[in-house]
């Protein structure tokens, strides 16, 4: 997910424009035009920093000088200064909230992803935590990037970068085999094919038909194990990845991962994000 800075800058300035309206009337009234200040962005909770690059770019595009003190993906302790900005006081005061909203959301997502990933790592489990498309509307890029920074897999971005045959597609298709074969024949060779299944039998059908990944929807750990066993027996386990989704929480995560399922995807990371508590302190520049 490397985007040239200029393109990212335009998205970020757009987010700021949305927030400003016709101008910051408090700042215009109170703060002199030539005042130079320093601002520290400080985390008030432990977590994983994310969005540092984004607020750096936003600040610099506004003419501020930015000095990141941590890197995106770093684990940070309560009280840590993440980045400082210096420059025009009015500009800093006007972009404070947009910057904090972005860095708090992204860090919140990265923190949760890291916590889950580490849990699996400590238990010596190879399962990968992944995002879904259940992001905040319009924030796909930022939400996915935060999952990556937390150590998760961003999964597909759009409807254009992977075939994912879901329950609603299957309802409208003849059957799983036909659906998978049809996509294998018609879709671009450049895309992987994933199928969402609700039974072990369907998982096997999808695998035999040539799917690259099966998404085991709301499978219990036991049912996941059965599926993986069955795939092994058929000699398909090397050819296909398994993804578990639905009903998985921080509490039962390990049980699911112990099945050796390849991927666990969690909508909660992005649709029910808990923002990291981050604030800004400003003081006049000596």
């Amino acid at each position: 997910m490397f985007i040239p800075r200029k393109i990212l800058e335009e998205r970020l300035v757009q987010l700021l424009t949305d927030d400003i309206g016709q101008g910051d009337i408090t700042t215009a009234t109170l703060i002199p035009a030539d005042l130079r200040v320093e601002a520290m962005v400080i985390t008030k909770e432990d977590g994983v920093a994310a969005g540092i690059m984004e607020v750096t770019i936003l600040g610099e595009s506004l003419g501020l000088s930015a000095k990141p003190l941590v890197a995106d993906g770093d684990e940070v302790k309560k009280g840590r200064v993440l980045i400082t900005f210096s420059g025009d006081a009015r500009t800093i005061l006007s972009f404070e909230r947009t910057a904090l909203n972005l860095v708090s959301r992204m860090s919140g997502i990265a923190t949760a992803t890291r916590r889950l990933s580490k849990k699996l790592e400590k238990a010596h489990l190879n399962t990968r935590i992944a995002a879904t498309r259940k992001t905040a509307p319009g924030l796909l890029y930022f939400d996915k990037k935060a999952v990556s920074l937390g150590g998760g897999d961003p999964h597909r971005f759009h409807l254009d970068d992977m075939i994912l045959i879901k329950d609603n597609h299957l309802t409208l298709s003849k059957n799983i085999e036909t659906a998978v074969k049809q996509t294998k024949q018609k879709a671009s060779f450049s895309k992987k094919i994933e199928v969402e299944v609700t039974s072990v039998a369907d998982a096997l059908k999808a695998a035999k038909a040539g799917a690259d990944i099966v998404m085991l929807d709301n499978f219990s750990p036991k049912k996941i194990r059965e599926t993986i066993e069955a795939l092994k027996k058929l000699g398909l386990s090397e050819k296909i990845l398994t993804e578990a989704s639905g009903g998985i929480t921080e509490q039962n995560l390990e049980k699911y991962a112990q099945t050796q399922v390849n991927i666990i995807s969690l909508g909660e990371l992005t649709h029910s994000t808990k923002a990291l508590d981050i604030s800004m302190e400003i003081k006049p520049k000596k």
Copy 2:
């Protein structure tokens, strides 16, 4: 917050465009171009519906027929069908995720706001729950509207519709009295003036200087009471509103409201939203 439908339509189509990329390759491969289907949007949790108008507009702008079965702001039980869409299968499948992301987020915000508002109502407390500007970046309109539908106050939208003198402004000002007087003199008569304070003394200074609202930042219930008492003694309690912010949770909410503070604002409603679990079921149209 009434916006002509056409303007809202453009924002919504933009959110969809962001999600689609170069096109839905699964749907293009599997679903025939002339298939007509029906889709039900169903809540899987109890909550307050929000975003129904938004997804109606989005669906209709795509040529779908939409039939809302609940109104925005309605309390809905698990299993309730919120809205149905009928029309072109490919279109419905392509907009499913964007529609659900929007309605889940907005309903999640409305649900939490309603729960807190009702808690106060039941305890016969008049304090109003309010939003902050701590929204998801770029989603200010939708987040604020969801708070309103839940029964909360949207608070200011932008930096342009209210003077709000915060800690960082005061750091750069001489003192509270001067700051308030300066804004009263220079700012437009059409705007209210609010000041964030950290002590009872400062609250009184702000009130005397003519602020319309004081935001009591991280005040304990006890300290809030003291402030309100002191304002009454000075005969200012009719002229000024009090807003409590910081450290307030669902658990201690009543204690804060019992102080008779006018407004309690909560960033969590929008920065740490828990989405309502809502999904879509599609079937061929008979």
Copy 3:
């Protein structure tokens, strides 16, 4: 009305893009690519400078060097050089008209506003001159800012930053009292409430119901005095502001202001602006 420069830059470049079309064919044909010139922006009339910041930002964003010789809001005499640009000749020639259109319009608005404000000031009257939403379509920001620079009040920006109950709203409401009470109850605490009235009686009703401001529509000075007297008797004159609008001209302005009405708003400032005559002189750079 402080907007970070980057956001303003994008609006200004958009205005220029509108004017350029597919390129300046005169300049491309006649002027060599590497010619450096100096340009002076000169006022041909006395007035108040406005838009200096805007054309500075526009020029600099195009790679020109800009040297403002007056500040926005300064009173300037005929013949005064307001700002000089130096740099690429083709760029200066291509942006000349857009820059002059902007600075002439804004200075025209500021000049008229200042003339009226000074008239009141000299007569020791405290009434404030205010803008309306009757701006050139799409130029709200620039028109309001020019009024501010002239010493006027920008009034509300949008339909979102103040409740303003106008004649057409009242036609559709039960009565004034109900309308005001309804908005007081439903609208955000962060917004002021203004009501347009056509009789003294209605002004009093609005005031009693809790409006923050009454707009006295097409009231004679006599009728305004009556209203203010009546408000005083009711002890409401401290709680409410009065705004006169309609039928007020440069000639009768003082008569209106002598009533001690708080605000006089004038659509003419922005809907029938007389541009200040400002031109650009270019010479080769030595």
Copy 4:
């Protein structure tokens, strides 16, 4: 200036979006969602209607039903209803100001243009009134169209549709002959070439070098006559058009036109427009 309706619609909705902000809070608070009303747009002054097509398109794009009662370019008397809208009350109230701002400005421009054109017509003079590029920034299309509706010539639109060698270009060129010859050789055959001159001699040089039009900048009527005479003597008067610009007012217009100059262009029409007084009356739909 025919633009497909859909494109015009997007520009108009953009102007409205600019004005709305986050929504009309007055209307949202006071006016029920299902109220249907009728609105009459009424002129309070005699003039020429313009912008009727634009507000029709804007209204219809918002879902309103629009019924134009006059055509663009019609002369209308005080009290005349120009167009009626019927439909959703909230929508009509929210777009009232943008619609009126547009139709008032365009009608103001058309009215002034018509007045001047008629003056010449009555005096049996063939000179044509023309616009300049001195429009309100960003409103070029609407300002030029209003001039056309008033009976004037829109002149060039952009920097791309005509070669116009102005004073500042000449300052940077060797001399007029070389400049004209250079453009004749290098510029596209599809474009006309006009040259701004400040003396009779220069006018003749430009004509001899092959210019299609000479702009006589700040020429007295006497000097214009001399130029035209000289062109006749040289047998060039059939090949070239003459345009007078600068120092021309409503008072001296006829004197200028009596010189038989082909075009008189006036910046005032668009940079110092006097809006036509037009308002909207709304009543509930029976």
Copy 5:
């Protein structure tokens, strides 16, 4: 590549807006506002129709009635009417060139793709013709779709939907094995990995390291055969796809396909498109 019509409409209207400028002055001058006409879009060459859906959507969005007489992907003979439009004459005349430019380019791409695909089909060869990212700038969607309609594979859309390690990436990497392994470990499981190689040995290294596809850059048919043989011997030929690119022309295409390479990608299809000759005939509506 299914995109909801509304989104496609916005892209198409943008292309038209680019072409129109400030309006069609010929049409405005000559054609009455209420004239209804019929227009036939006719191919003057044999070929494959593409862009029919796009011009249908564009025409309908402008208020025209469109009647497609062939489907996208149909083979059409010289003289065939592809689609008719009826409606407002000015609108049809204004969008004629944009519509023809689009349908001619897309049909030209589809025609060439079909010709090559059929050649292989007739020779009973299974190799697939594919596009590259060498499209006209900004027209990726339309160019790729045209290739699909011609029977080709669109290949990846963006830089985000597939890992494609090209020569320049390898220059900056340690070696092929490390590069492939690094991407397999770090990239999302949802994406395929392709590697561009310049020797048989490198193709084998890439395959062993786990690439999904190898792009054989400028390989002779002989060298392609060697590669495929070697992959078979290593038992990797089922696990990996082979793509030939570079030096392939219509003349030698079969020789390349006879190697049984899976995909042949050709930049010429989109970077050096020969437009299909298509024109529009308009007549008054009886």
Copy 6:
């Protein structure tokens, strides 16, 4: 066609954004964030360079350092380095394809235009090669500019900068004389009038009615000569330009030009462009 760099930059970044999607995943995975490289853009064919300025601006706007080694319009030999970029490796790899697509297309257009122009020059013929509006959709600016760099005439840009009465306009008009007279009377004096004709007689009618240019559609060289002769006899040949269009190829070009027709316009230059083969080589920066 001079456009201020900032405006061009925005168009170019838009083209890049279209191509990038959610980010370059190959580069993000393989290339370290701090790697600095040098890239050479090399032509693999002889031709005329065009687009050098455009890719310079695009590269610099992304923070790269660009060093053009040839000027736009220069004739270049196979193997020539056109421009080098140095800077961040990820940025260069991400913009490589967009930059090459642009420079290859523009250079391809310029090369073909130059070849044809030179052919005429060598034969001492004064006829000018011109573009049409048959460009790639949305790329009008770049296609026209490339024709200019090749030595051709860009012809009109839009529908707004010239009256061009085509076959379809005439079908809907009474006759040629009336059509030309109507436009002469109604259209702005600032625009030229061209008429497309299909017979010598019509050419003469158009000329007599006052057209500035006649487009001789699908005339044979013989018919063109006849037309020019007839115009001479009528003494109109000095007043009108002749443009030949249709059926003209590289082979028969001279025959057409020998008729002394003023302009030959060719759609093929832009609708069936053959891209110049240009590639990029990257190496680590020492």
